[in-house]
Amino acid sequence: MTAPAVPLQAKDYKSDLKPIWCPGCGDFGVLQGLYRALAAIGRPPHEVAFISGIGCSSRIPGYTTAYGFNSVHGRSLPIAQGVKLANPELLVVVAGGDGDGFSIGGGHVAHAVRRNINITYIVMDNQVYGLTKGQLSPTSPKGLQTVTSPLGSLEEPVNPLLFLLAYGAGFVAQASPADMPGMSALIEEAIRYPGFSFVNIQSPCVTFGEDDQQLKVHKAKMKTLASLGHDPADQLRAMDLARAYGTELYTGVFYRNPNPPLPYEELIKLRIAEESKKARPRNRILDAYLQK
């Protein structure tokens, strides 16, 4: 890690590529929040990697000066874990949509959580498949009419917050770009958490999203968990509050493990150190293959 001589600014993480998102898209605010969080953390862009899948939100890596991989639909988490294990010094941020994360990629979430590699997963939850023009997503509310559910969806939505809490994630938060300072601070806190961390960002799709999920509605509706007196160390209360996903818009940290266990990459380092003590001298290496 190198400490920059001049403090880094949000603009240092902004690439020259102009986002092609629809004007008004919530992802513009999320991107600003990410720049600000990274500036606050102060790691230079070459020490940061953004990994994403496919979707409008998954375009994020291209809009930063950090390393980036706009990879394969639903596969951002396994790729990010590989990147972090190959180079544990990198700060790895995974970013993508609700479809990418909870339908095609849903199977990876449990394993990323239980493996507990120190990466941050940011889902831009717009309750729809934006990129492919407005189909039902796993977080779409029941009854939603879309091109793939013209008579209204019959399915219950996935609750990303409960999903992550139930798998045992050590850091679970929710934010909205309707509150930029709050969202940037939460992203920063998630990145600083020493283990797998998750932030669900309600990032409206202005083109295919519902009117009641737009930022103007967020501004009127959102309540911080701090204002409810929630203690982020209280996992059961966090689960209870998370059940309001889809009806209330709570922002802040639902759960933060007060005693974070060592992340996987640290456990690996310890294992290597331990095993190397037991290593045979060079001239006895082949003994392992000899029958006694």
Binding site: P7, Q9, A10, K11, K18, P19, I20, W21, C22, P23, G24, C25, G26, F28, G29, Q32, R36, A39, A40, I54, C56, H73, G130, L131, T132, K133, P177, A178, D179, M180, P181, G182, P204, V206, T207, Q214, L215, K216, K219
Partner: protein, 178 residues
Amino acid sequence: MTTQKQTQGIDFATISMRDALDLAVLIEEEARDRYEELAAQLILHRTPGAAAFFTKMMRVEEVHRKQLFEQRTRNFGNQPSGVSREMIYDVEAPDYDEVRMNMTPRTALEVALRSEVKAHAFFVNALKHVASAEVKKLFEHLCEEEVEHQNLVKAELAKLEPDEPGSGDDFGDDPVAQ
């Protein structure tokens, strides 16, 4: 109207004249950059009328920024600043969700008007806490300027014909499948 906090880590009760000027410069810079971004988004999404207006606003904000920056340099040379861009959030810059593809020039002007009103409210609020007479004078002057800008935008709005019913409807269907 925004409900979010617009600054972080700035204490208006103790802010120095130098930092107050720097803050004013940063506010104009943020607005300039946002108008530039919004214009680029609208050009990309085939909304040239609104984009042209935002480009004009970008130039206006740059003129204000320069004037304030010259005042700062005259009075304080290149002394280091106690405020940074990371401390401000959309003070005069329109929120990202204010724009839509196919928006009309009239709605673009309305966005600018709301932003000038927002900036005015910001300085009025800040003034409640300011102790320094010098900073007070500066903020009062900036308040007056914001009112002037509002009047200019209102005058431009008055020149425009009302939008045709249905114009500016968001028929956007832009993302490209991968």
